[in-house]
Amino acid sequence: MKDRHTIPKASGYYQAAEWEAHESTWLQWPHDKIYAGYQMNLGRIWLEMTAALGLHETVHIIAKDEQHLEHIAYLLHFFGLDSQNIDLRVIPTDDVWARDNGLIFVVNNKGDMAITDWNFNGWGERFNHPLDAQVSASLAKQLAMPLFVPPLVMEGGALSVNGAGAFMVTDSSIINDNRNPGLSKEEIEEVLQEYLGVCHFIWLSGAGQVECEKWGDMTDSHLDIVAHFTAESTVLYNWTEDKSDPRYPMFVKAYQELQEATTQSGKSLTLVALPTPADGVHQVTNLAPWRVATLTDGVYSNYYTANKVVLVPVYGNVNDDRARGIIGEQFPGREIIGSDAISLIEDGGAIGCVTQSQPARRYKQNGHRTYTGH
């Protein structure tokens, strides 16, 4: 099904916003390749996500092999989740970050759907994850969907779209020699226009590697720890008054940049401040020598919007409740579900990093997009 010769834009394909109607959510279930001895800390979170998401949409669960699949099926049965709308299938994986493995679904208004595969290279070749890099291609085959492979390396956590043409991203995670050596901002924008059907760009600086290491960030500052579209012209941005937080300069800069930014139609953005966990979230395990009690990149903006629910990572922190309230105001028709994400964040991400949405198909007669926002 591989189609390198045409571009998605030619067939009217574009990336829908996360809050638009979903067909399903994709999850990669944790296993022992990276997490030997630690799976139980994570498995609980996957069970909770499956329980919450499965009420309103299909949950596709990727197992690494047949044995893993049987284990997950047993867990789902044991916890009473096997009557939910779950699709369990085998695709070999290295890790759990379904957001970042390169998979982005695109739709057009004729009911078509395709997969774009963004050449995952282990977050700038920090980690060797060859199996995760193959997930998009395997899925295109299994689902019999067209596959488009753009000439760009990018992870899903690096971006946020409003579904109406605007694309927000951090410079540091994409204009970077560890992913796209020699490519200019203009060349990158051209690829994004062709493959995700976007027409307007909001570039935030993000943070360099030296800064990122202060909070254990291995992504070169993905957008999902900085800001997030919640509607066509509304952006939630992370904020703290604590100047001793090493992320403070990044947050200040992002806020200044967002104040200058507009939507695709030139409208100013409505900016909503989201607190970060007070005093930060710290690592909790001692299972491996590299896991010491250091600050993590725990933030609330790493939530996931799905049909009728929003999963918000929480950390037992004094600010959990405020963050859930603020996110809830943006999604008034949805249940806001807190997911204890400490065990996940100490591995480098939260709920938004381990979920990937598959939009519902669109059918519309005229040339305009079917916008299914709230």
């Binding site: 800390n41 609980r44 007070a278 005093d279 930060g280 979230v281 710290h282 690592q283 909790v284 395990t285 001692n286 009690a293 993590t296 725990g298 929480v314 950390y315 037992g316 922190n317 004094v318 959990d320 409740d321 859930r324 309230g325 809830g328 249940e335 806001i336 579900i337 807190g338 997911s339 204890d340 400490i342 065990s343 964040i345 100490e346």
Partner: protein
């Protein structure tokens, strides 16, 4: 609230945060401990143990997801076992300090942290869910 860590040493929970609802109780306990002695009449060596900064809050949704209630989380709810000490941690800024202070009291044991957020929201931590059986003399 407080734990013997050897015959005459007591770790006690402490915070300087007067807005913490437990502050009054911690103060009263400290005063009481200062006038307490061992069975032999010796004064106690008192070692303050921080509590989690800004507290630990419930994470579950049990039909009340808009509420995030304060829990009674503290580091004093650790378990001393052969060769190791299990210390509840909460992803909190004070986790490391607490582990170090407890570690100083048990220099020959490994200090193992256990993520106890989900447990403490049900009302307890590591010590509450363990019971040691001593060896026979």
């Amino acid at each position: 609230m407080a734990r013997f860590s050897n015959e005459s040493t007591v770790l006690y929970n402490w915070t300087d945060d007067e807005s913490d609802p437990r502050y009054t109780m911690f103060r009263r306990h400290l005063e009481e401990l200062k006038s307490a002695t061992t069975a032999a009449g010796q004064n106690l060596t008192l070692v303050p143990l921080p509590v989690p900064k800004e507290g630990v809050y419930q994470v579950a949704n049990n039909n009340q997801w808009r509420q995030s209630l304060y829990t009674d989380a503290a580091y004093s709810n650790y378990l001393v076992a052969n060769g190791l000490v299990l210390v509840p941690v909460y992803g909190n800024k004070n986790d490391e300090r607490a582990k170090a202070i407890i570690g100083e009291q048990f220099p020959d044991r490994e200090i193992i942290a256990i993520d106890a957020v989900s447990l403490t929201e049900d009302g307890g931590a590591i010590h509450c869910v363990t019971q040691q059986q001593p060896v026979k003399n």
